[in-house]
């Protein structure tokens, strides 16, 4: 079995984190479109078919103190093996919050493509960057909505003061 760690593929952890953030935050429809538009598709073998499970979400008391168990969240994971189109058995893995098997499957495929050195630039340019731009736009717009509710309260001084 091929190693799956980022380092084994010469990929900086931050780059993989960035991709994971974008792929987990994308909509399933976007990923489906990007994959169906992907020319020269490698052969995809599911080493681990999309599988639903749980993660226990932890918080910290007061924000920065001891950890405590907040509650669980549904998560779906998948692991794929890509081969063909010059890729030598690259394994990609995804973990995506929610119960969306197709989403996790597609995220694992793009994760594997990112790990394949000869596909990396293309994945970044055609998948990660456009999705990231879209997510940033949505965040900016949501933040603008939220910032419109910034309030400045005045305390009214009492008459005898």
């Amino acid at each position: 079995m091929t190693a799956q760690e980022s380092a084994a593929y010469g990929l900086a952890p931050d780059e993989r984190r960035r991709a994971a953030r974008v792929l987990s935050g994308a909509t399933q429809a976007d990923l489906e479109m990007l994959w169906s538009d992907w020319k020269e598709q490698p052969e995809v073998t599911y080493l681990r078919a999309p599988e639903a499970g749980l993660v226990m979400v932890q918080g910290r008391i007061g924000g920065t103190g001891d950890r405590f168990n907040l509650g669980e969240a549904t998560i779906t994971r998948a692991t794929v093996l890509l081969s063909g189109i010059g890729i030598e058995d690259v394994i990609g893995t995804s973990y995506v919050l929610g119960s969306h098997p197709e989403h996790a499957g597609l995220a694992a495929i793009f994760d594997a493509l990112l790990l394949a050195p000869e596909q990396r630039a293309r994945v970044l340019a055609e998948v990660i960057e456009p999705l990231e731009r879209g997510q940033k736009e949505r965040d900016t717009s949501a933040q603008a909505d939220a910032r419109s509710t910034v309030v400045d309260f005045f305390t009214v001084a009492r008459e005898n003061e």
Partner: protein, 372 residues
């Protein structure tokens, strides 16, 4: 005690069919889609996720539809569902100050870095029932982008006016106990209590929190900060070799600042109560932080005189799945037990009547003798 009964399959099946019919209502009207439920009943969906102790807005919306709006029934559905899934592990502890919050207010400090941001709130609405729900445009005010929003309690902490989250030295980030994996034993750690309060019934915690305000375990609270927003969740999967983001979760956090304690060794400091819940659950987060503080009585050497300060009373009765299970099981067939009770009460009454008749004869005899 419940004794098993047999039979009734047909009537039970018909009852379930009738239940489904009642839940359907007018057949001409469209069914509520789960996505509508999720997006237009977001606060209710949040409550089901918090008390169901499972974050998944889609599933919570579906559970609510299946339960015909019965919150506890929906919570039970989520709790049952989670038992069918394997747990892949623990997330990295969330950083609630990490992403810009949608809402962030402080009732203690007027001018806070990052500003007071009302967000989507029912506060300051007129509470007048309306026939038509409008969706007014949110104006684009060209506000400067979100400044960092440090926690208010961290700001106070700088001058040591408020108790620190953790000891200054010798802190080793202990692993918390997990109530879903280990039997409940008292006394609990604060981390275990917070897990229990987190999944506790909103109404129960609200009432207990209210009771502390009314003097039953008073701790004079102020809202240091309430924030609502999405936080990024990270998971460290062994096969990846480092933590990666796996999505975002909406959360509500409340930092309650309470009156100070101090002693001969420790200068007076504000004390704290903490609340953190899934989704948009401000009332729950506030109640949780009030009860969290009340339950720290022993830590601060306070007299335990009120229900909200009694750990076992609060924690053992806060879970609404347990509570409703035990209360509602009373309506299931108890015929055999009740027959035994009936037998007992009949024999007691026979004894009573026999004795009463004997007493009556005695006193009748005394009356005839001219005695009182």
């Amino acid at each position: 005690m419940y004794v098993a009964v047999k039979g009734g399959e047909k009537a039970i099946a018909n009852a379930h069919a009738l239940l489904a019919k009642r839940g359907r209502g007018e057949v001409d009207a469209p069914r509520i889609d789960y996505a509508q439920m999720r997006d237009q009943m977001g606060v209710l969906v949040s409550r089901v996720m918090a008390e169901g102790s499972l974050y998944d807005p889609d599933l919570a919306a579906k559970a609510l539809l299946q339960a015909q709006g019965d919150v506890l029934e929906a919570v039970t559905l989520l709790r049952s569902y989670r038992t069918t899934l394997p747990r892949f592990g623990l997330t990295v502890a969330v950083d609630t100050a990490g992403l810009p919050s949608e809402r962030r207010v402080s009732a203690t400090f007027k001018d806070i870095p990052g500003g007071q941001q009302l967000g989507a709130t029912f506060d300051y609405t007129h509470r007048l029932l309306t026939d038509e729900l409008g969706t007014p445009e949110v104006p684009n005010l060209e506000m400067p982008p979100s400044a960092a929003m440090p926690r208010v309690t961290d700001l106070l902490g700088v001058d040591a006016l408020i108790e620190a989250d953790k000891p200054a030295e010798g802190w080793n980030d202990p692993d918390p106990g997990d109530l879903t994996r280990e039997p409940t034993t008292f006394p609990m750690s604060r981390a275990e209590r917070l897990q229990a309060l987190n999944r506790g019934d909103e109404g129960f915690l609200l009432s207990l929190g209210y009771s502390t305000q009314r003097g039953f375990g008073n701790n004079h609270p102020f809202v240091g900060e309430v924030r609502v927003g999405e936080v990024e969740i990270e998971f460290d999967a062994p096969e990846i070799g480092h933590a990666v983001p796996i999505g975002r979760i909406e959360m509500t956090e409340c930092q309650m600042v309470n009156q100070f304690v101090g002693n001969t060794e420790q200068a007076p400091q504000f004390t704290r109560g903490y609340g953190l819940v899934f989704g948009r659950g401000e009332r729950k987060a506030m109640s949780m932080s009030l009860v969290d503080r009340a339950l720290r009585s022993e830590e601060f050497g306070e007299r335990i005189v009120s229900p909200a300060q009694d750990e076992e009373f609060v924690i053992a009765h806060s879970d609404n799945v347990q509570a409703t299970g035990f209360v509602e099981h009373l309506k299931l067939p108890h015929y055999v037990d009740f027959q035994a009770e009936l037998g007992l009460i009949r024999s007691l009454r026979r004894e009573f009547e026999t004795r009463h008749a004997a007493d009556a004869r005695m006193s009748a005899g005394k009356d005839q003798n001219g005695e009182n």
